[in-house]
Amino acid sequence: MSGTVTPVQQEEEWRGVAAEEIVEISHSTGLRLQARSRKLLGSLVRPHIGRASLAVASVIGGNLANLALPLLIAAAIDSGIPAAMRGDVSVLLWCVAGYAICAGLTTFLRWAFLRVSGRVGQDMLLDLRERIFRHSQRLSVGFHESYTSGKVISRTTSDVDALQDLVEEGLDSLFNALLSVAGIAIILLWLDMPLASVVVAGFVPLFFIWRWFRRRSMEAYRGTRGAIAKIIIQFVESMNGIRAVQAFRRQPRNETIMTGFNGQFRDANVDALGVMATFVATIRLIGNVSLAVVLAWGAYRVAGGSLELGVLTAFTVYLRRFYDPFDELAMFANSYSSATAALEKISGLLEEEPSVPEPTSPVALPHARGAIRFSGVEFQYPGTTRQVLPRFSLEVPAGQTVALVGATGAGKTTLAKLVSRFYDPTAGSVLLDGVDLRSVADTDLRRAVVMVTQENFLFSGSVADNIALGKPSASRAEIEAAAAEVGAHEFIAALPDGYDTDVRKRGGRLSSGQRQMVAFARAFLANPAVLVLDEATSSLDVPTERAVQAALETVLADRTAFIIAHRLSTVLIADRVLVLDGGIVVEDGSPEELIGERGRFAALHTAWRDSLA
């Protein structure tokens, strides 16, 4: 994230301290943010210029037809009726028919406008949603580990909705209002220049209130966007941790927290509505005062003979109409501010560069063998100062099974994440079959290297869907075979709808052990050259783990594997054991060798054997 990273003490003590970007927005950053969001809006509108012009054309046509309506009424009353009284109804009939036609035209063009502009608006929203989603998927794991799901959700949902308001209502009022204002302004100038200068003078305060409104409403809407994001984050966290919330009686505390955020959002909304109230009322005031001034001066001039009465009449009628669309313009300005504030946030997300970027000219690696080499690799997590992995080099030939052993924080998971390219090393490189991972196309890399973690997230959908994630093209038979291989077939078949059983939210339908089995089946189905297992069997019961292990031994025979496991039994199936301490490989050898060497691994092994006795 941009901005200086410094520890910021939160006003709410419970949230604790973290390194955060500075929230205050100076004038210059404010301008930069606005420019950024305008640019995004521009890029969203551009592809639809053609249809947008069509919409504008139908508004113009509709307004013209609409303008003709009062003229036709006047004609009917002034000439049609007198003619009819003389016995000639044709003029009246023409007027009535003309009225009906113009009304029909207005209606049709209005309908066309709604359809066309609606389509443009919806296409823009779809485009924006797609951009955010794709971009969020491109961003690296490291980004998501700090950005939080709630923020991505609020970017993709409530921030996009703010734009939706703009395209649904804003554009409509903008076109209508601008056209009326422009048309009437021309008529006013044509009617009488001096009186029109009064109206022009009214633009001076209008300009200042407009500037005030833009600034204040941006502030207010930035407030609403920030507050709703906090609400969403709190909501999502509470719902995802509902078991803990209930078991530990956290509800009252959470409610206090929610009340705080809710209040912030409410106050920001009240603020935004208040700003709008002042703006609308001031515009109305300027309009009405101009009218009184025009009336006074006009009367004076009529009395003096320098103005015709008819001109004054027309002028007052049009002046009133001139200020009516300003309400709509204010509505537009309001939606625009709200959308800009939302687009600022969205463009911020879109501006994030993935820290693990796709190579621009990838080296093709369609059939990886699975040799992994760490060459002068160093690593520290972004934004931290502690080096998790000091400079090291390591060669893992294709087909070797490597077990990583070491205490929490020794760097096992980090090493695994480097192999899976969740992160790139800060120095040096990780190579697959001699090719730097940074040069391998994502599709090739993911086909070659698959990581299974203890989290084993399940997506909503059926069991089969979740296994098929390993290979979307897999047939049902392949899915079942993969499940059978890890010993999951039996329990899946026993579910009410077998493989088609809905796993429910986060796989809530299954036990955690069953979820791990599904995750395993998924990895087996993917059939990668390199398999990375990070505590992937922690929730299995022993017979199941044994089945998985047996499967592993066959599966791993011809592929490279990195295994992090706290079961020494799993470690023992490895060809090679690396003992890590503070990011440094302190022991390296086959399990038998290390057991014979009376090092740390030997000590661990003895302790473990004693625990079994």
Binding site: P7, W14, G16, A19, A76, I81, A84, M85, V89, L92, V96, Y99, A103, T106, R115, G118, R129, E130, F133, Q137, T148, V152, T157, S158, D161, I232, F235, E237, M239, A244, Q246, F248, R249, R250, R253, E255, M258, R266, N269, L273, R284, A296, L309, T316, A407, T408, K412, R446, E455, L469, K505, R506, S512, G513, S538, D541, V542, S611, L612, A613
Partner: protein, 610 residues
Amino acid sequence: MLTVGRTSYFGDDLEGAHRVSDQRNSTIRTLRRLWPYVRPYRARMAVVLSATMLAMLCGLGIPLLTQRIVDGPIQNKQTAALPWLIIGVLVLGIGEAVLFYIRRKVVARPAAQVEARMRFDLYQRLQRLPVAFHDRWQSGQLLSRGTNDLTTVRRFVAFGMVFLVVNTLVVVVGMGIIASLSPTLLVVSLCGALPLIVISYLFEAKFKVVARRAQDQSGDLTTIVEESVLGIRVLKAFGRGPVLTSRFLAQARDLRKTELNKISILAALWSVLIVLPELSIAGMLGVGAFGIVNGTMTVGTLVAAVAVSAYLRWPIDSIGWLLAETNMTAAALERYWEVIDSPVTITSPASPVPLPTPLRGHVRFEGVRFAFEDGREVLTGVDLDLRPGETVALVGATGSGKTTLTALVPRLADVTGGRITIDGVDVRDLSLEDLRTVVGTAFEEPVLFSASVTENVGLGVPDVSEASVREALRVAKAEEFVDALPWGLQTRIGEQGLSLSGGQRQRLALARAVVGRPAVLVLDDPLSALDVHTEAEVEAALRRVLRGVTALVVAHRSSTVQLADRVAMLADGKITAIGSHRKLLETNEEYRRLLSSLDADEVVEEEVAS
């Protein structure tokens, strides 16, 4: 979730006709339930209504007065009265502006507060709805109810509601004026109004269905977004971002289609709303002219009637927008009430039994049964007696119902048969507050909240002291690593803070369970994610924790089992064996299969080999 077939607007079928009347009732019912939230602000809302109507009167008065001034004093050059009349216009003008300000300013707080209040109630309800409810509902659907839907409600309270009343009133008054001018012309304008009512009626049913569908689809979209982020590691690991992206896009396109459907219904309605008043004006012209020719009507009457009709154009046009807002609000409220009306099945009893003092912590499962909502019975009669201070390990195959059994003690779910007692009192007779104070829990998947370590450990204990947090951390062997965090106990952890390793998270979850020294501990596989080094340490800590409390510990490993005084084996929904680890190993074949791990096998093999 509501599933609706594709509907073409304004075309009707038999089934649709039934739905129309049902929905009409439900729309009114749904909206009426909003009243208690608005009620506290009824005085303010009355002010808003009055201001809106007065502003309309001012708005009407200004051109009328202007016209009088121009046609009267100015034309006749009677300058004496002129300043006063112009001041009159000025006063009306300022009045209108002030009333505009009042309307918007006064409505701001009620609208925002109704939204906030409803969101709070939703949140409160969701926090109390049983875990089973949460398993069933997609989180995006719940979230969209708390955000989008309530925004719609806020807008309705701020604008829709007010103008619905005011505009209807204006239209009725306007019609009254036309009637007083000429009953014939009223008939003409009613000819335009009647089809309008019929069409609005048909529209409402169609539109609400589509509005509801759009809201549901937007909830589904939220669900996918949430999953795409929470499951990012899996997606990255398998390179399946594109798969989920295409699923997201398919749903986003569906939503777009529904929104376009909404737009086309609205466009049709709007067209009708625009064209009908115009046609009735044209009709009035024709009929009026005929009357004038026949001498039954004066030109003045016709002009006045046409002017009033023209003035009514905006209020009638806006009916389309108002109907849309009203129906969207009704659909949003319906979604909201669905959650609010879901029964909170797990509640404190009306008159809770106080806990016996001193508490001994005697936990008994008596014929406990549990069936999921789909009827699948996972526990079919569990009998288990945990003597005060005793640690019982619960073992069983994957999916045998161990986690379910542990969830029953703190009543995250309720038994569907039999009962669980603590010191002889059925857990359902205790207040939830007492029960969950007495029973400490640790879940297999430790959830951390984005808050400080202190806050995370002291979750349920208000104003937890640093000393007791530290004590709990010490017991869980977590003090050392917590102190090494950049801001110690104050460091923010969880999604928005520092990420911790699985073992660290699990130790914090253990600390969370023991803070406040509960008499009964229910630990679901508390050691699963610990590495070999830490496991030994946490085991030692756990041994200390378990001393003096009654504990049920789900275990997969013989090392964990050995912490227990007795072991109970769960199979086929019942406790099939109970006894010491050693005894069960010797006597029970299935237990041996379950627990004499690979580890043991290999040790045996090795020993045989050497």
